[in-house]
């Protein structure tokens, strides 16, 4: 086991020298996570909107089901995606297992319920304010959902942020479907887990610092964006 302070020193040295391995892992992590969150938002926002605005039998049951999916265990999601994508699975012919695409799929499955459930709540609140106005305009269901998504845009960023937090911090699913292969599917969290188990703390710490830094940076950026929008009464 390395000395604690030495590990920190080496970690900062890796960050300071922009170590190629470190940068490669960060870039892949961001590619996978941001792609997954983007897809989750594209599915989750309209889904949340439809659940907020729609009135159909079984809606409440669907809302409860969606809320329950927010707590999906990542390893279980990883296992199910693994079974689908493995050579013997129904989607095996796509040969996606142990690729970044498989990791994106796993994260989309994990993040979409979070984004959709939070979006539903945000859109439902706004719908209660806009309902009469939009009905008086004779807006269609689709026009209503689109209007609400656009007008809740800054609040929906918070939903996306919650999804991003989940995706960035996620280990279990991506390690199963990605395999943690160096230079191919190794991302920040899986590297931290691997390097820590090997007792190589410098890279793990360096990535940990970056991960926390990124989280603070993204949160601060969105906070400022939302604050500025609130100043102009857009949020």
């Amino acid at each position: 086991m390395q000395d604690f302070s030495q590990a920190f020193a080496e970690a900062f040295a890796l960050i300071g020298t922009a170590d190629a391995t470190l940068i490669g892992i960060i870039v892949l992590s961001l590619q996978v996570t941001l792609t997954a969150v983007l897809i989750a938002c594209l599915i989750g926002f309209p889904l949340g909107g439809a659940l907020a605005v729609g009135r159909f039998p079984g809606r409440m049951a669907l809302v409860v089901f969606l809320n329950s999916l927010m707590g999906l265990p990542p390893v279980v999601v990883g296992l199910v995606i693994y079974l689908f994508l493995s050579a013997a699975g129904p989607l095996g012919y796509l040969q996606l297992l142990y690729t970044p695409t498989a990791m994106v799929i796993a994260q989309v499955v994990l993040v979409t319920p979070i984004v959709a459930a939070l979006a539903r709540q945000v859109i439902e609140d706004l719908h209660s304010e806009y309902d009469d106005m939009l009905r008086a305009m004779n807006a269609s269901r689709l026009q209503t959902i689109w209007t609400l998504i656009v007008d809740a845009r800054y609040s929906l960023l918070t939903s996306a942020l919650a999804g991003l937090g989940r995706a960035l911090a996620e280990v279990g699913a991506v390690i199963i479907v990605g395999g943690n292969i160096a230079n191919v599917t190794r991302v920040m969290t899986t590297t931290i887990a691997l390097e820590t188990s090997k007792g190589e703390l410098a890279l793990a710490l360096g990535l940990g610092i970056i991960l926390v830094g990124l989280s603070i940076l993204i949160n601060a950026g969105l906070f400022l964006l939302k604050h500025s929008a609130q100043q102009r009464a857009y949020a």
């Binding site: 009469d132 009905r135 004779n138 209007t147 102009r232």
Partner: protein, 254 residues
């Protein structure tokens, strides 16, 4: 009849609305949680010009307006447009007492209404700009709508309701809590819209406003239409004791 300024012609209905008049509420029952608001309500709102719905608080004036807009459905009875139970949706503009504006710019609020009404994208910008100019709001086009003063918000709400050239304009106390200047600006647009052929129904408590705007008054009391009179007659010789008490300020809450 005021001489119509050519600019105001853009308030004219897309198609004549007269084929949907009169509006008749036929044996309407409406209640909420075991509380009956209307029981066998019968009323006719017809002709041209501006109809004011007046009555004490809680009489059901706003609900009457909502029934006409199709925002509420009666428990029993019908709301008939020239005998048809089908609400001419898309041909009705509605202005609420408290304006609900989108979290967008002033211009974007009008553009949204035009988009929802299916106006082609290429025509929207020009029409929205013309409407804002007509409402003396062109200088505010890029301002956040929800940062406007109360009077400006209500004026925008009115312009937005007129954006899709409705044949029927329903106004629920549009100038409540506005100052005289803001009220006059709103009344000016309402009058111009009426001059262009838009049928206007306005809920108001303001006798001065009714006198300035309305051609006829529908007086509502305790969920019933007590009287429908020409405005001059209503103000000078109200047909019922309740209307007399209301005008004298002795009938404030039902």
């Amino acid at each position: 009849m005021l001489k119509m300024n050519p600019d105001f012609a853009l308030l004219a209905p897309a198609r004549p609305f007269t084929c949907h008049l009169p509006i008749r509420l036929d044996g309407v029952d409406l209640g909420f949680k075991n509380r009956s608001v209307f029981a066998n309500l019968n009323a006719t709102i017809g002709g041209h010009g501006i109809t004011a719905i007046m009555g004490p608080n809680g009489a059901g004036k706003s609900l009457l307006l909502r029934l006409m807009a199709g925002l509420l459905r009666p428990d029993h009875g019908d709301v008939l447009f020239n005998g048809s139970a089908r609400v001419p949706a898309g041909r009705i503009g509605f202005v609420f007492q408290r304006p609900v504006l989108l979290r967008r710019t002033v211009l974007a609020n009008v553009l949204h209404a035009l988009a929802v009404a299916g106006v082609p994208r290429t025509d929207r910008q020009a029409r929205a700009t013309e409407l804002l100019a007509l409402g003396e709001m062109h200088g505010l086009a890029a301002s956040p709508a929800r940062k406007l003063s109360g009077g400006e918000q209500q004026r925008l709400s009115l312009l937005r309701a007129l954006a899709c050239k409705p044949g029927l304009l329903l106004l629920d106390e549009p100038s409540a809590s506005l100052d005289p200047q803001a009220t006059l600006l709103i009344e000016n647009i309402i009058r111009r819209a009426s001059d262009c052929g838009v049928k206007v129904v306005i809920v108001t408590h303001d006798q001065g406003q009714a006198a300035r705007l309305a051609d006829e008054v529908v007086f509502v009391h305790q969920g019933q239409v007590m009287d429908t009179q020409d405005i001059g007659e209503f103000l000078n010789r109200p047909g019922t004791a309740q209307a007399r008490a209301y005008l004298a300020g002795e009938l404030l809450i039902d």
